[in-house]
Symmetry: C2
């Protein structure tokens, strides 16, 4: 190691938001660093800021400009906000993908969905095994979370050691997969951790996290006491929860059917990869009709109110021929992610209207979080004893709170939001530079930049409406004016068709101009657009987006 | 009273949602009922379902068709979801408006904003005074809430008595306005209440509601311990809270400045109407600059993350020349209404980034609700001892839960969502009919129907993008094709301009048709629209909204 070699941490996504995780580690002399990437996640669009967008991911420009310096991509676990963009962004990254077996099954499907060769994916054994990737040695550190085979990373390079937690919780009995291993963490701490890059999402949760296993008894009790059909929803990837739900159903003498593609796929991956071995017997959809509803339990997708998922369809009336009835029970074994309150509320109300007993997690009995709460984070700090904490995965307020927590316990800590170039050495870590970061949207077939203006134009049309005007002109003569009005009231205040008023006013305005002006397309466009804007403002109180199409006949 | 006279309750808004309250009471022979209306509220639009809409209110068609049968409009209190549409809908209702003094001040401003004569507003003294309105005798029953002079209604007609609570809480010390008067409620119960129509919003809150006065000590403590400038936000109409905040500021030796128009207006109404007499001294904006920030407290609007309000502007950097700095404190003395989590979170993060200490109400110390919780509702039931409970103001799940609560306590109860025609007699109440209800949108200058399709078109443009095509044709000759693409990527998959591809393909498709087909505008429109759809799907994966403008030259 020469003194010129430097270790760099650079979050591209996830440090300043919950979701869209993407963290870069670099090592080497300035400008010739070798890089590894941790996670390639997505976040989800909303009508509010990203109408019509399919997925959102971190901008990879920085890596693309250094594509030949990227030695590997590590995926900590198979949640969409860590793995979701792998199929979309792999062509831009083009480096070996390392992960555990269950995660690999999900990654493989995502690669194949995009017509990519999945052979870039390499399955690694867990820490203490280490994988050499460029100058780095990386160990896959098993941690419990709310999905099988979640992992942190032990990154060793140039005599420094970084622990990157991924998403984790300190679950001693996670039902599926390895329990939290405090001894392994303690041993790592003893070896020396220079920097801990740590999950921050639950730093504001003051109580110690509860184990997945604490749900078994209350869920079993609830289902055993239910009278009609029982339907339960949770996150599709929470295989342990699916197992708890199914076991409770079977214990209560019910036939269990799992519905919804994403859930079935996840159970398939879990079984194939060997992490799930003893899932209770299930029945197929075809057999559901022959089971009396009081002996039936469905486990379905759509815990976040997703409009096309099973939950929402059942709430609207029917899903695959199944309907809910008076005295059936619907359980949300999930929390509502902020922003999804309205669609989830819609489902609860629809079900209540059908006489269904809806049980959500407002009483915190039927769901536990997959993330380390504040006391758990302190335990992680204490076990690993890092010189410096760098909080990751959280909104700015979470990062800041997590840093303050570490500082109050005598550690160094820095807040490094997306784009912070952090230099790490034996003494600590500091932000030495900031690069511009951004977001990429999957919009239909294309990946577009968040600042391309495409989505902004759509938002404008949604709030203001739209007017198209077609003009036919021959020199300075206006031969025809046609307007189309979209998303505006049909009638003006005077109860006349708005479109007629627009056409008439445009004609009047154009005819009153000097001929010379009308020979200039730009002038005409400007005049017409201004006229449209004025009439719409006066008549309907809106300033629509407009487009003027000028057709000039050759004279 | 003849046997043909019937008392009817018909919710038009608010029973099936939180917000948009509007309840009709009718009495008389079928078809000749006389009506009174309780509340004329609004609810707020969102990008999700109502982009570009300004306000949402209940459809008044049922009343408009019986406009000469409406004898009066009662407004229970001045929250927007009870009073917000009075200026917009009064021309359709046209009946005397009855309310208390503070509410009247707000109603007057809303009428004048719309150029209406405010003399329709009549201020009534509180119950036990009763106002004769058509066949009804109505008393304005003072109840505490989170705004001055909230009231319920005691409605007497044909030997029946209905208590309509409005929004209420059982606050023994509400700081501003009358305390809850259990004796008055008990006396009413003794006289006999046939039907209680009751606020349901907090039926899922299991703890007894806390008094507004319990906030004084913790707020005072928090402000006295703050170091830099203190900024607090709450609901503008919560005059009691404004007083508590200002008193705490002054007690801590700070100069207090109230910023934001809606807050200043509310304080003005409260002072003018005499309900607020001892608000602490305030300083003007001009004097803020001369006060050291550690001696300053601002009370500002924008507790729900509203983009233009003071809170959001401070979070973005500057409001009226004021900025927040490291170690300042920002207090949300408010709860975040479901659906507003994202904008409120944005403010918290921006402030955290500026080093501001943000205190929200996640610990439930600095805010209390204005609604009766579950045990409080039971107390109301017990005091009034109604024969039947009809839950109002709540989503369906709240109405249902509230009804079940009453039934479990031995009362009759029915769930009557918007549009339920409920007949009330001495024995109880039952739904005898259902009318169609709907929503009206204020969209710019106009009131439009929710089902007019205007907003749906805007949503479609927002999610799909838009293409306008202008054609110039002479008989079957295509003289020109112009397209405009809005809200779609500029380049196709083949990296060619999308607009060029659309124009070329349209031309190709049209030229290949038989001449006869091209003489028919509908055929041409259909062909072009299909071509646009196909190209956009293939090239950018979107199916845009399109409009085809055909200009035919006379040959």
């Amino acid at each position: 190691m020469t003194s010129k070699n430097k270790l760099i941490y650079l979050p591209l996504g996830g440090a300043g938001e919950i979701g869209m995780n993407m963290y870069l580690y670099g090592y080497g002399p300035s400008g010739q660093e070798r890089y590894i990437l941790a996670d390639v996640g997505v976040t989800f669009p909303s009508m509010d800021g990203t109408p019509g967008v399919d997925l959102i991911m971190a901008d990879t420009q920085f890596i693309q400009q250094r594509a030949d310096q990227l030695d590997g991509i590590f995926i900590t676990h198979a949640h969409e906000d860590h793995i979701g963009a792998i199929g979309l962004l792999f062509p831009r990254l083009n480096a070996p993908i390392y992960c555990r077996k269950f995660t690999a099954a999900v990654a493989r499907a995502k690669m194949e969905d995009r017509g990519l060769d999945a052979s870039a994916i390499e399955i690694l054994p867990p820490y203490p095994e280490m994988q050499k990737v460029g100058p780095f040695s990386v160990g896959i550190l098993p941690v419990p979370h709310s999905i099988p085979e979640a992992s942190g990373l032990v990154i060793e390079v140039g005599g420094l050691r970084v622990v990157h937690t991924g998403d984790l919780k300190l679950d001693a009995d996670p039902i599926v997969g390895e329990a939290f291993d405090p001894d392994m963490f303690k041993a790592l701490g003893k070896k020396g951790v220079d920097v801990l890059v740590c999950d921050s999402t639950n730093v504001f949760s003051n109580k110690e996290g509860r184990s997945e296993s604490t749900l078994q008894a209350p869920i079993a009790k609830m289902i055993s006491e239910a009278s009609g059909m029982v339907v339960a929803t949770t996150f599709a990837s929470n295989v342990a929860r699916l197992k708890t739900l199914a076991e409770a159903g079977v214990a209560a003498g019910r036939s269990v059917c799992v519905l919804g593609r994403s859930m079935q796929r996840m159970l398939g991956y879990a079984t194939q990869s060997g992490v799930l071995t003893d899932f209770p017997p299930r029945i197929d959809l075809e057999d559901v009709a022959s089971v009396p509803r009081e002996n039936l339990m469905l486990i379905v997708t759509g815990s976040q109110g997703e409009g096309r998922a099973a939950s929402a369809q059942l709430a609207r009336g029917k899903y695959l021929g199944l309907t809910m009835k008076e005295n059936d029970t619907f359980l949300f074994s999930s929390k509502t992610i902020p922003g999804n309150e309205v669609p989830v509320g819609r489902i609860i109300n629809s079900l209540a209207m059908q006489g269904v007993k809806v049980i959500d997690d407002s009483a915190e009995i039927y769901h536990v979080s997959g993330h380390a709460n504040r006391p758990d984070l302190q335990r992680v700090h204490a076990l690993l004893q890092p010189t410096t904490l760098i909080p990751m995965h959280g909104e700015y307020r979470h990062l800041k709170e997590h840093a303050q927590l570490a500082i109050s316990n005598g550690m160094q800590a820095i807040v490094a939001p997306n784009g912070s170039v952090v230099e790490i050495d034996e003494k600590g870590a500091k932000v030495v530079d900031t690069i511009e970061t951004g977001r990429i949207y999957l919009d239909g077939k294309q990946l577009i930049g968040a600042y391309d203006g495409v989505v902004l134009e759509r938002i404008r049309m949604a709030t203001r409406g739209f007017v198209a005007v077609s003009l036919v002109m021959e020199d300075a003569d206006v031969l025809g004016v046609w307007a189309e009005v979209v998303g505006l009231p049909e009638l003006s205040e005077a109860e006349e068709p708005l479109v007629t008023q627009i056409e008439e006013q445009i004609e009047r305005v154009l005819v009153s101009q000097k001929a010379k002006r009308l020979l200039d397309d730009e002038e005409v466009e400007h005049l017409v657009a201004r006229t449209v804007s004025r009439i719409c403002r006066d008549e309907v109180g809106k300033k629509p987006v407009s487009r003027i199409l000028i057709n000039r006949l050759e004279s």
